[in-house]
């Protein structure tokens, strides 16, 4: 396979090229403005070629088969995963030693965005290439990695991740699945729920409790004795993806399939989730990208009152806002990805180092997850509106985009649990002296956020409002710095996003503090220019 020397690690190169600042650490956006951030325009030509292959694959292999995929046509999804595996898509950021490509997590996320134009394929490939491998990559023994990773990176096997249970969702550590040691094997009992890829998975990463309290991770093969998969859930969307319960009835697992330290399974589970949240952010703007394409195409074709509806002000306003918010989500996601790669380059390698690296930007990962999935929801909703009555039928693909998008705000940690986590983490880091909550003073939102964090308050509503302010500050700073670095139409995209973000921030501030607040006017919303750019390319904004 590939030699190490053949692979350039994006993160390292970017640090050396000065594209991202060395000083950024988890939560530091709150009190500092970096000189530079990584932007999607910084991917190299050959990285863009990989991204282009991903888009072609989506357009030629996935989008023409949406109906058959939604009906779960026999063997179709696993065959598409294998095909994707042949092109390298099942192990983009897994090490070359296990037949992965050893590329950066940021590039893997960008590629995943373009593999995610359809939600069902997105979740299938996202899980087998991501969360099912990352636990092994970060916490596995060499022999475990050798045994399982090459099967997953090639697409020969499909992987799944099993944490949730019928009575244990957001409160994951309350799980009741048990593991007991019997001689030379582990015996697992319990039911895992909402398991994506269950129907076609060959390997499950399962969390269970030893002695009823010590959470431990296990690698469970589909064909092990006592392992079965229940019927498919009837879902509102993502009908082409498999979601079912994993049933463990005296399931017998070899001792060597226990992953990492007994009683430290929560490290495996939650760090896989931190990175999973980051990837989910890019997986949610993939369908949003496609919704913008569909809405722009339809707006150009549809004529009313003798003219194209793309000429009407309120349709143009929608397209401009879709583009502006997409731009902001994109700006923060790929800034964050480069930071995660930087953390792995600096700290990763050992199991403990990997754990610290995966945790470093957990705050940013949550911010990306929440903002991107809410931007996705806005975009697919407005896309339906552009289609009018036709959008409400299954004749056009926007209805599917709308249904598929709904779960993004629920899984990989609901947006509510992510909000609690985000502000909580920021305050904990401040208490530990690792960051300052005094604000960077570089924007209206950052000032509001600092004032709100200094306010006395408690309870989830207060915490949620603080999180919104922190998240909006991070998005605003990312969108602003990208516009400063790249210019062109991005200046207008930033302004358009800023208007919305400031209004949201003011509302959150009132909730947190009960105080009235003045919202500054945004000079130029760029509605006509942004709409024209989207209509021209029938896609989200590109650098001009």
């Amino acid at each position: 396979m590939l030699r190490k020397s053949e692979v350039r690690r994006l993160g390292k190169d970017n640090i050396m090229a000065g594209l991202i600042s060395n000083q950024q650490h988890g939560g530091s956006f709150f009190s500092q403005t970096p000189e530079r951030i990584f932007t999607p325009e910084d991917f190299s030509p050959d990285e863009n070629l990989m991204i282009q292959t991903a888009e072609q694959f989506s357009r030629k292999e996935i989008l023409p088969q949406l109906e058959a995929l939604d009906q779960q046509a026999e063997g179709l999804m696993p065959s598409l995963v294998r095909k994707a595996g042949e092109l390298g898509f099942c192990g983009i950021d897994t090490a070359e030693a296990y037949d992965g490509l050893g590329l950066s997590k940021n590039l893997a996320a960008r590629i995943l965005e373009f593999l995610s134009l359809n939600g069902s394929f997105s979740v299938t490939i996202g899980i087998t290439s991501g969360i099912s491998q990352v636990g092994l990559s970060l916490f596995g023994e060499e022999s475990q990695r050798q045994q399982f990773l090459p099967k997953l990176t090639s697409g020969e096997w499909i992987g799944a991740y099993a944490l949730s249970e019928p009575n244990s969702g957001s409160d994951a550590l309350s799980m009741s699945c048990r593991a007991e040691r019997h001689g030379d094997k582990w015996v697992l009992n319990g039911t895992k729920m909402w398991i994506s890829n269950a129907k076609w998975a060959d390997l499950f990463l399962v969390m269970a409790k030893v002695d009823g309290e010590r959470v431990t991770a296990f690698l469970v093969e589909r064909n092990a004795p006592g392992v079965s998969v229940a019927r498919e859930e009837h879902k509102m969307g993502l009908k082409g993806s498999s979601t079912a319960r994993l049933v463990l009835e005296n399931a017998e697992i070899p001792l060597e399939n226990q992953l990492y330290v007994e009683g430290k399974g929560h490290h495996v589970a939650f760090n896989a989730l931190n990175l999973g949240r980051f990837k989910l952010a890019s997986m949610s703007i993939g369908p949003a990208r496609e919704a913008i394409t569909q809405a722009a195409s339809y707006a150009l074709d549809r004529k009313q009152f003798g003219q194209s509806i793309s000429d009407f002000g309120l349709i143009r306003k929608k397209l401009a806002e879709m583009a502006g918010r997409f731009y902001a989500a994109e700006s923060m996601i790929y800034r964050t990805g480069a930071l995660i790669d930087q953390a792995f380059d600096q700290q990763g390698g050992s199991v403990e180092g990997n754990r610290l690296a995966a945790e470093e930007f957990a705050i940013e990962c949550s911010a990306c997850k929440v903002l991107s999935t809410e931007v996705e929801a806005f975009i697919v909703d407005e896309a339906i509106q552009v289609f009018g009555g036709y959008g409400f039928t299954e004749e056009f693909p926007v209805a599917r985009l709308y249904r598929d998008a709904r779960v993004s705000r629920i899984y990989e940690g609901t947006n509510e649990i992510n909000r609690v986590f985000l502000a909580d983490r920021l305050m904990r880091r401040a208490k530990e002296g690792r960051l300052s909550l005094s604000g960077s003073g570089d924007s209206y939102l950052s000032e509001l956020a600092a004032k709100a964090f200094a306010h006395a308050g408690s309870g989830q509503v207060f915490i949620g409002a603080l999180s919104d302010l922190a998240m909006l500050s991070y998005a605003e700073q990312s969108a602003r710095l990208r516009a400063k670095q790249q210019g062109g139409i991005f200046d207008l995209a930033y302004q358009n996003f800023l208007q919305w973000a400031q209004l949201q921030g003011a509302a959150a501030y009132q909730i947190a503090t009960g105080e009235a607040v003045h919202v500054p006017a945004t000079p130029h919303l760029g509605i006509d220019e942004l709409a024209a750019a989207v209509l021209e390319t029938k896609a989200p904004l590109r650098k001009t």
Binding site: T53, R542, K543
Partner: protein, 245 residues
């Protein structure tokens, strides 16, 4: 067999291009570039020939500024073995390109030159024929099928009156038509491998002065609106009035 595939960096054929206000060129802001699609088909065909017979060597060559490295790397990712960039800012017409490629062919002595029938930017459809003439080599243009038959090639070409099958001795030159093949997805491991394949830069050697000159770029005039007629008689009258009948 040694196969040389010349390729051209062109404006993304799906991009909408506009002339600059003063007509001196095209507005290229925000425009993507790619390998000329017919040249990409030629690269694909060469790679398929190599997949059948591993002893083949594929060399890709492009003429232009260092911007064309991106397209050469793409060809290496598809499966070419090495690349040559004739680095120059000189402006060529088709004959100038044929001169420059002739020098490359003389230096590399390939058994086969396989290239696109035309580039999608200028649509000249001349460089291949001119190169074959300069070399004094047999040529088969508009190929829709290429088969190696011992030391000869059998090429099916598309003509207005049907398919024509030619047999050519080597060395010879073939230009690719649209239906020759459908280029593959470029696999990620191939893109990574391409990073370490040799890409050699050479100076231009001929730089003949172009026989043609671009005077001005203008957008095609907008099509005038049509008119509906209510009967065949009215249609015939309207056509006669326009002098079409």
């Amino acid at each position: 067999m040694k196969i040389l595939v010349p390729l051209k960096r062109v404006i993304d054929p799906y991009a909408k291009v506009k002339p600059l206000g003063d007509g001196s060129g095209l507005d290229l802001s925000g425009i993507k570039f790619d390998i000329n699609p017919f040249d990409e088909i030629a690269v694909e065909e060469a790679v398929r020939m190599k997949e059948k017979d591993g002893s083949h060597e594929i060399i890709v060559v492009s003429i232009g500024t260092s911007d064309s490295e991106e397209q050469l790397r793409k060809a290496l990712a598809i499966g070419a073995d090495r690349a040559i960039l004739i680095e120059t800012e000189h402006i060529y017409d088709s004959l100038g390109i044929a001169h420059e490629l002739e020098a490359v062919v003389r230096a590399e002595s390939p058994d086969l030159v396989l290239m696109g029938k035309q580039a999608t930017d200028d649509d000249n459809n001349q460089a291949g024929q001119m190169l074959a003439a300069r070399l004094g080599w047999p040529q088969a243009t508009f190929a829709s099928k290429v088969e190696a038959a011992g030391t000869r090639l059998q090429v099916t070409r598309e003509t207005d009156s049907g398919e024509e099958v030619l047999e050519l001795p080597l060395p010879s030159l073939v230009t690719a038509d649209l239906r020759l093949n459908e280029p593959r997805y470029i696999a990620l491991p191939g893109i990574i491998k391409a990073r370490s394949k040799p890409l050699e830069k050479r100076p231009a050697s001929v730089m003949s002065s172009p026989k043609t000159r671009t005077v001005r770029y203008d957008a095609p005039p907008a099509r005038a609106a049509g008119r509906k007629v209510s009967s065949v008689d009215e249609l015939v009258a309207a056509l006669q009035e326009k002098g079409a009948l």
